[in-house]
Symmetry: C2
C-alpha cells in the first residue's frame, strides 16, 4: 500500500515514519510512504502558499494553485492515482469501518491543511473525500494523516505479528464492543490479583468471562455502541 502526504511541514513526519511497526512494514515492502512539501508547488512570483482571506477575518488561507498543481503531479507517481483525502474538521468522522474500507485501497493520497484551511476552490476542483479525526480542531492535518496511516497499516496483512490482534480490537470487525481487561505477570502487584478465571486454563470459562467483561464495560461507558452492535447484527442477516 502506498501513502502520499502533501503538507507544509514534512519534517513533522520524520520521527513517526521511523516508528518501529511502520518502519518494519516499509522494510518488508508492505507499505510505502512519501511526504511532499506543498511549498515546492508555490510558483507565483512571491513563492506564497497562503494569503489573506477575501472578506476579511483572522489568519491565512492556503491558495488554490499550489494544492491543485501538486496533486496533479503527485497522483501519476504511483501505479494508479490514490484515493484522495483532505484532512479537515469538516469531513466525515474517521471510524473503524472507514479505516477498514481505506485499508482495502492500494493507495491513499492525503492533503494536510494548516492555518484557516484551504481556498474553497481546492475542494471544488479536486473533489477530495474530506475526513475528520473527530469534533476537535488540530493545528493542521498532519496528526490526522498519521492517525489514518497508523490505523490503516495494522489491517494490512503481514504488518502486525498476529492478525488476530486486529480482529479482537475495540470497534473492529470481530468485535464492535470495547475490549475486555487484560492481565499479565506478576499474579499479584501491590495487593491486586489477577482474576482467578484467567489462571484456571479453562478456555470456555475464559471466553465467557471476557465476553461478559467486554459487554459490561461497553454498557457502562459506551452504551451507544451496543445499539450499533445490534444494528450490525441485523445488517449481517441481509
Amino acid at each position: 500500500m502506498r501513502f502520499d502526504v502533501l503538507t507544509l511541514f514534512p519534517e513533522i513526519f520524520t520521527g513517526y515514519l521511523g516508528e518501529s511497526l511502520l518502519n518494519k512494514a516499509i522494510d518488508k515492502q508492505l507499505v510505502e510512504a512519501h511526504v511532499h512539501n506543498l511549498r515546492d508547488w508555490a510558483n507565483d512570483k512571491h513563492n506564497r502558499v497562503d494569503d489573506r482571506p477575501f472578506g476579511g477575518g483572522p489568519g491565512m488561507v492556503i491558495r488554490v494553485q499550489p494544492v491543485v498543481e501538486a496533486i496533479e503531479q503527485i497522483q501519476p507517481l504511483g501505479e494508479m492515482p490514490g484515493r484522495l483525502i483532505l484532512l479537515s474538521p469538516q469531513g466525515r468522522t474517521l471510524n473503524q469501518p472507514l479505516v477498514e474500507e481505506l485499508a482495502q485501497q492500494q493507495r491513499l493520497t492525503m492533503i494536510c491543511g494548516r492555518y484557516e484551511g484551504f481556498d474553497q476552490r481546492v475542494i471544488d476542483l479536486l473533489q477530495p473525500e474530506e475526513i475528520s479525526l473527530g469534533d476537535f480542531v488540530l493545528n493542521g492535518g498532519e496528526v490526522a494523516a498519521m492517525a489514518i496511516i497508523d490505523s490503516v497499516i495494522r489491517l494490512i496483512p503481514g504488518v502486525l505479528g498476529d492478525e488476530q490482534s486486529a480482529v479482537d480490537d475495540s470497534f473492529s470487525e470481530g468485535n464492535r464492543l470495547l475490549e475486555f481487561p487484560q492481565y499479565t505477570r506478576p499474579r499479584e502487584y501491590r495487593g491486586l490479583n489477577v482474576p482467578e478465571v484467567l489462571l484456571g486454563g479453562n478456555h470456555q470459562e475464559i471466553l465467557a468471562w471476557r465476553k461478559q467483561q467486554s459487554l459490561e464495560k461497553t454498557k457502562m461507558r459506551r452504551a451507544d455502541l451496543l445499539d450499533q452492535h445490534s444494528d450490525d447484527a441485523h445488517d449481517n442477516k441481509r
Copy 2:
C-alpha cells in the same frame, strides 16, 4: 503549560516536537514538553515492559510495574502533578469542549499504550482519565497524545498569532458549527470565481453570508451538531 508523555517509542515525537507552532510556543516558554521512555522503568531481571496475557490470546500486554513506578517518578518533576490521562480506545471521546477543559490545566501527564494495551491494574492503581481519539484503533497512544497536544496548545493564549482564529474554528467556543468556506487570491482560478459578496467590502453582508454558509454546510453534513448547538444555547441560559 507542561506536557509529560510516557511512551515506549519516544523517537516518534522528535519530528512533531520540532513542528513550527509547537516549537515557537516552546521557545516563548508558553509550553514545555517532556517525553519519557517507559523502558527506563523496566527494572525486572529481564528488562521487560510487556508479557503474554493471562488466559491466553494474541499479542503482548504492558506490565503494571513499569507504568506505575514511572508515573510515581514523573508526577513530582513539575510544580504540581499533571492531570493524568491514559490514551485508550476505551476512553471518553476527545471533543472540543474536552480540549477546552484540558487547556485550562497547568500540566498534563499522558500515558501511551502499545500492543494489546495495559495490565488492568495500571488503571486500577493510577486511576487515570481514559481518553480516546475516536472509534478507531491506533497502533499506540502516541498519535493520540500528539492530537491532544496539537489541539490544546492552540488554545493557550499567545500560541496562535491571532486568538480569534481559535474562537472561529469549527466546534469551538464561539462557533459549534462547521466553518464557512474561505477564499483567497486570485479572484478567478480555472474558471472558478470568488463569491461576489466577499469582494464587496460590506461587512454586515459578509457576516450574514458566512453565517448562512456555516449553517447550510452543517445542516448538510453534520445535522447532529445543530441539535447540540440548540442544547448548548439552552445550557447557556441556565
